[in-house]
């Protein structure tokens, strides 16, 4: 019984400490759900001209979202992996492993891991190539917008044999504008649990399309909507009641994890996201996504052909 409940928030909850600079207008995230309407009205008064986007259940001007998300991740970076394991009871590892096995890269594959953060996918990819093919020519560029997350990733890789090899490169960059990456240069593009936090998902998809080679694969591992009503109610209960509390206890940061569960709700459903992927120009095979654990997360895939 615990296991279905335990399936939950794998992703690092964004840790938004109450000291966020935007709290001048809101009354902090702790009261986010109840303050929704009044906060929204107060925003509209101040920023009527700028388009709004969602930040969890709140609405913020588009230009602010990136900064807010950045603050959140800066705060959670050190406890990111621990919280992942705690929230999902380790199931996120299974998901990421399955993700890489679905990719089944051959020798010499070049991967761009966007929003790679602490490097779970990048590490798994290099290990897969080494163990299955005995290959050491696979390369991964780990790109993240947040320097602190990248630092944690660097530390993790320092302890592996990939340290200081050409197999792993770290870069700071914005998924919406990969200015440092040339077109048609990567075989696979992955973004695991990161696209939800981007302000303009369509720009991320366009950039992904640009940097991939013809025949290249776009793969996205992201939270999805659960169809089964029973599982869905248990999952929502777990998300909204238990995860923020876990965040408070382990990372002393309730608000970030509140943001996490809210942002999961805000992300489009699997079929809508697949439509967005198709609209960008990717070729989608069959359904286009595969549900994992009843749809709590899903693997989306598209090819540039």
């Amino acid at each position: 019984m615990l296991i279905p409940i335990g399936i939950g928030l794998l992703r690092p909850l964004i840790s938004s400490k109450s000291r966020l600079t935007y709290s001048g207008i809101f009354r902090g995230f702790a009261s986010s759900t109840s303050q929704r309407t009044s906060d929204r009205q107060s925003i509209k008064k101040d920023d009527e001209k700028e388009a709004e986007t969602n930040f969890g259940f709140k609405y913020v001007p588009e230009s602010m979202k990136e900064k807010l998300v950045g603050q959140v991740f800066t705060n959670v970076a050190s406890k990111y992996d621990v919280m992942n394991d705690a929230m999902s009871l380790g199931i996120h590892r299974l998901w990421k492993d399955y993700f890489i096995r679905t990719m089944a890269p051959g020798p010499g594959t070049k991967l761009l891991d966007v929003a790679g953060g602490t490097g779970d996918i990048a590490m798994g990819f290099l290990n897969y190539c080494k163990e299955i093919h005995g290959d050491t020519s696979a390369q991964v560029t780990l790109l993240d917008i947040n320097p602190k997350m990248l630092d944690v990733g660097r530390e993790r890789f320092n302890k592996t044999p990939y340290n200081q090899t050409s197999q792993i490169q770290f870069e700071i960059g914005n998924a919406e504008n990969l200015s440092t990456i040339s077109s048609n240069s990567f075989d696979v593009y992955t973004i695991a649990f990161g696209i939800r936090n981007c302000t303009h998902i369509d720009r991320v998809l366009s950039e992904a399309y640009r940097v991939l080679r013809p025949g290249g694969r776009f793969m996205c591992l992201e939270f999805g909507k659960v169809q089964n009503p029973i599982i869905s109610s248990i999952y929502n209960l777990y998300s909204f009641q238990i995860i923020p509390v876990l965040g408070q206890v382990i990372a002393a940061d309730r608000d970030s994890y509140q943001y996490l569960v809210e942002s999961i709700q805000r992300f489009p459903s699997q079929d809508k996201f697949t439509e967005m992927i198709k609209d960008t120009g990717f070729t989608v095979i069959d359904k286009g996504w595969e549900d994992l654990t009843f749809g709590i997360s899903a693997i989306h895939s598209g090819f540039k052909l």
Partner: protein
Amino acid sequence: MEGLIGRSSKIMLQRIQTKSIIKPNLLNLRPHRSFSYSVSAKLINSNVESNEQKETSRIPLNLIHSEILRASLSFVPKYGWSVESLSHGANSLGYPSVSHGLFPRGGVELIEWFLEDSRRKMVNELIDKMDGLKIHQKIRLACITRLNYTKPYAKKWSEALAIMAQPNNVQTSIEHLAKLVDDMWYLAGDKSADMNWYTKRGSLAVIYSSTELYMTQDISPDYTGTFQFLDHRLQDIATFGRVVGEIDTFVGFVTKSLVGVLASKGIGNFDK
């Protein structure tokens, strides 16, 4: 029955004339979901809907699929009917190895494509060569032609058979065999309109599949053993058919004699 024959003839004629990919629904089989038909049709639809301005500059998707699969065949003797062959095939065309993801079911898609492609090649090759041969010679020629396509992969064919025997794939592999024997009999000019239509195809299916099975373990030079095996099986069927006919005649005589004897004793039906 005649409706079936009529339809299959018409479809064959269309296929030969237009050389397009039309999947005849012989034997009222459920539509067969091989990648090259329904999947690529779906994909083409998605491309057309969303990328109308890009469509003209792109190679059609089913062509890319066929190219990758054709290229993968050359790696089968080394890597088997697997994702590895697909990866190498994609690589050889300049696509990254992860393009094997275009075939989510993996090796079985390669097998299915191979079966489809070989059947099409057999039909195209034999359409003009069937004149002046007797029916059993035509069948023999069709079997030999088709077996020749399997020859390069004979060493790995047992792996293909094992994959096709998996529960997921059994239905499609039976459909492929059914289509194959139907095409062979059509090429041989079969015009039966009764139970023979089914028995002919059933017996040919057994002959062909047992010959292919024999081929997987045949070590004779250039598979001459396999073709001898084929000839023996075809003779068996001919013999069997003749014997059944003779038994039928014999039993008919015996029954009529018995009825006659009983009638002479006053027992039996005299209404006629």
